[in-house]
């Protein structure tokens, strides 16, 4: 019984680790213009989170809970 929101949390963790890595690269290589990349990455990660949460809400409205094994419409 695994939730769908656990995958969204792992996606958020991946985006955060990418942000931290890009910021540390920008600081350590003394290349300030690279700081643009983590900010834009944060913008598009926010869009992705919003759409993922909207899908989560629609699944939870249809099935009551967001268990992954509820998503079996394409099962043969």
């Amino acid at each position: 019984r695994s939730h769908l929101v656990a995958s969204l949390l792992c996606l958020e963790g991946m985006m955060m680790s990418l942000f931290i890595m890009a910021t540390l690269i920008a600081s350590n290589t003394h290349f300030p213009l690279v700081n643009i990349m983590p900010i834009i990455l944060l913008v598009f990660a926010a869009c992705e989170t919003a759409v993922g949460l909207a899908l989560l809400i629609s699944i939870s409205n249809t099935y009551g809970l967001d268990y992954v094994h509820n998503l079996n419409l394409l099962q043969c």
Partner: protein, 173 residues
Amino acid sequence: MAYVLFTLSVLLVMGFVGFSSKPSPIYGGLALIVSGVVGCVIVLNCGGVYMGLVMFLVYLGGMMVVFGYTTAMAIEEYPETWGSGLEVLGGLLVGLMMEVVLVLWVLSLDETVVVSFSDTGDWVIFEGEGSGLIRGDSIGAGALYDYGRWLVVVAGWTLFVGVYIVIEIVRGN
């Protein structure tokens, strides 16, 4: 303390293990927030003051709050914490064990593993009459509005369209 960055990165990985072992979403969100705070302190330690502030405000203050109340609204059951089920506890213990092995291996080496954290963050500029001091990351992020004008327009339009997409998805039919 010279090893503060190493300790913080170890805590970051342990926080990531905390939510990737898939407990109930509320506890996963808590572990993500703790990891976010630790990661922000790592960024601050390497001289990225502005980027740490952006991460705190936008990421922890914006996205985690939205995650928190969406999770609280969409999920209602008996939450499964790290000590309740065997799978979650097993995943957590395996992750922590691997982290401990890595830390011991890194500490047993005698040289720097990846990168040496030299002095970062401040730039000294010499202009016409005197000298000044600027922060590298805020100046670099400020260049987003100069060299990256079109990127700002595209990102703003993406966010605007994203709001419409979210409304249409949640409305359903």
